[in-house]
């Protein structure tokens, strides 16, 4: 934690300079949120009594949008639909887009999450932003940083979440930031919008888990519908391969550093 603070202090003057000289870039940056270190219970097997520790990291406040992905493609032609090598994607890559650089915003919307991108493309995007895909544990830890006023409220939320996993309306996705669902740190829409790629979506242990009728029950380690919803999410994600593109999977990026302007905008992220 200390070394991170040092790095931030060193970077501060640079940030100020960047803020002054690159206002356009700065304003188009997706806000990054600091997710503080902590621990959580995964639905994957873990040592009893030892929650999974997670170091602090930064993550995009919202999922990557169509407009942001267009910007990336303009600078990285090799990831355009007509250029992307087949080893990095299935046929459905950005299938609904009108052309290489035109999603057809009247149908897909500037601020809706980009979907039908393979894990490889998502990875490349985040790398280009100076980040990476969040790890499975980072994403889940952040997603579970939610406060419920009562067990009843948690139960209702989780039931709705499970039902949502059975019926994501991929033809009518909402805009990012619109679900009203956010964690205690201000990361938005981890639920209720799309499912998201993570760096290690198919952890090594996935091969050891027998995916069968009992898996959901065995994953129900938290003894609540909250972990039931989580198990559906874990299993669905584990069933993908890195070339798959679907209308319900988008992504956001994670970082070791704050955004060049995020401190200026939020003031309190540290």
């Amino acid at each position: 934690m200390r070394s991170q603070t040092n790095r931030v202090i060193l970077a501060l003057p640079l940030l100020v300079v960047m803020t002054i000289f690159m206002p356009e870039v700065a304003s188009s940056q997706t806000a990054r949120v600091l997710v503080p270190e902590g621990s959580f219970h995964s639905v994957l097997p873990e040592i009893p009594g030892e929650p999974v520790p997670v170091d602090s990291f930064y993550m995009d406040e919202t999922a990557v949008t169509n407009e942001e992905f267009v910007k990336f493609l303009k600078e990285n032609p090799e990831w355009r639909r007509s250029e992307i090598p087949p080893i990095f994607t299935n046929d459905g890559y950005l299938r609904e887009w009108r052309s290489d650089l035109d999603p057809g915003y009247e149908k897909l919307g500037e601020n809706r999450p980009v979907t039908r991108v393979s894990w490889y493309a998502a990875n490349a995007y985040c790398s280009d932003q100076g980040g990476r895909l969040p790890t499975l544990n980072q994403w889940e830890y952040s997603a579970q940083l939610m406060e419920f006023e009562s067990k009843t409220e948690m139960r209702t939320f989780s039931s709705e979440l499970i039902n949502w996993y059975s019926g994501i309306d991929v033809n009518n996705l909402a805009e990012v930031g619109s679900t009203q669902i956010e964690n205690t740190e201000g990361v938005k829409d981890q639920f209720g919008l799309v499912m998201e790629w993570v760096e290690d979506f198919k952890p090594i242990i996935a091969d050891e888990l027998s995916l069968d009728c009992g898996t959901v029950g065995r994953m129900n380690t938290l003894g609540s519908v909250y972990s039931y919803a989580a198990s559906i999410r874990y299993i669905t994600r584990m069933s993908f391969n890195a070339k798959i593109t679907t209308g319900m999977v988008g992504f956001r990026c994670a970082y070791d550093e704050p955004a060049p302007t995020s401190q200026y905008e939020n003031g309190n992220t540290l």
Partner: protein, 377 residues
């Protein structure tokens, strides 16, 4: 440093996924008790296929069963793709179903004991597939649905990973029944070693959710020497009982109700996927005829106490196996994924009600009509 990490990740990812596709299973065909085991490893791949989602000569829409017009055994080539359809399950109740082939339950596959099946299935849950237009090169199922779309099907999208578990098959589930993502296709062989009526369903967890969302159907495996009765039946029908767990959604559609599913409280219990279909389109027979019902309780969670009001089952073969013969049964108890083949003499002209004698299920829809005309012979 960060970009280096990403590149390493990319590389590791590529190697990892590349390696997993190179692994091969050690399988060799053998026979035991006259049955065939040991099928080659399943293939998972991507293909440019946008043809009919259901292909195969002996694949039909419920309650129909395709006649087996061949001697000896046959090697079938069957395709049943996974597609998403908005369907009606009761008047005014529509939801986005996850389906095999476009209907709930999925198509009926009819084979003979000892037949080999090469099965192909593409996960097309991320594309809109219309099944109500007549299709070329499809199965009888496609034309039957086009002529009689009683679930008022319309194409929809809901991409999810899915799999196929044929209870009629005897294979290693971590190979043949493996889960494939949207856009992927799986192909594998299996042999129908045992006669009977068998459910098929999606085996991807939550299996409760996937099955309740509509991913189930039946395979009828007719015994190679038939049932030992000394008579031919006049008609054969396939009836599948299943539950829906639906709740009104935000718009016009109903959605999956997790609370109801996990507390065994279905919103609808139905025959052949629709609350009133077997009244709207009664099964037909004539007085004095012998009718054979292949009944499967596909659940996912309930039991069925299958009875016909006004009839007694003359002979019943539990699970449809010719050795399991029972006589004179009023009600046949079918557990979740259980089945029976039942012969009934239709006594006289009139209406006979097929019913789950667990009346809470009957009142949720598990009833149907057999309409008998006058005696013809």
């Amino acid at each position: 440093m960060k970009s280096a990490i990403s590149k390493i990740t990319l590389l590791v990812g590529m190697i990892f996924f590349g390696m997993s596709s190179l692994l091969t299973a050690q399988t060799q065909e053998y026979t035991l008790d006259g049955m065939t085991f040991g099928m080659p490893e399943a293939e998972v791949y991507t293909e440019d296929y946008d043809g009919p989602p259901v292909v195969g000569e002996y694949v039909t829409q419920l309650p129909n069963l395709a006649p087996l017009d061949y001697e000896g055994n046959k090697h079938h080539e069957v395709r049943i793709d996974i597609i998403v359809q908005e369907i009606e399950v009761a008047e005014g109740v529509r939801y986005q179903a996850w389906t095999f082939g476009g209907t709930v339950p999925g198509p009926v596959l009819h084979v003979k004991e000892g037949d080999k099946i090469t099965f192909v299935m593409k996960n097309r849950s991320d594309e809109e597939v219309t099944i109500t237009d007549p299709a070329k090169g499809g199965s009888p199922f496609m034309n039957q649905v086009a002529n009689n779309p009683y679930q008022k099907n319309s194409a929809a999208i809901m991409p999810m990973p899915h799999s196929m578990d044929f209870h009629a098959g005897t294979v290693a589930k971590d190979d043949k029944w493996r889960t494939i993502g949207p856009g992927e296709t799986i192909k594998f062989d299996w042999v129908a070693n045992y006669a009977g009526t068998y459910i098929y369903h999606c085996g991807t967890p939550s299996v409760l959710m996937h099955t309740a969302m509509g991913q189930h159907g039946v395979v009828v495996v007719s015994p190679k020497d038939g049932y030992d009765t000394g008579y031919e039946v006049d008609r054969e029908y396939v009836i599948v009982q299943s539950e829906y767990y639906l709740t009104p959604g935000a718009g016009d559609l109903y959605t999956y109700d997790f609370e109801a599913a996990s507390s065994n409280n279905p919103s609808h219990v139905v025959f052949n996927g629709h609350q009133t279909i077997l009244h709207d389109q009664p099964l037909k027979a004539n007085a004095g005829e012998r009718v054979r019902f292949h009944v499967s309780n596909n659940g996912p969670s309930g039991t069925s106490s299958f009875h016909v009001i006004g009839g007694i089952f003359d002979r019943v073969w539990l699970e449809g196996h010719p050795s399991n013969e029972m006589r004179g049964m009023q009600t046949v108890l079918l557990g979740a994924s259980g089945s029976a083949t039942m012969d009934m003499i239709v006594p006289e002209e009139g209406k006979y009600i097929l019913i789950d004698h667990e009346f809470v299920d009957a009142e949720k829809g598990a009833t149907g009509t057999l309409k008998a005309g006058p005696r013809k012979k």
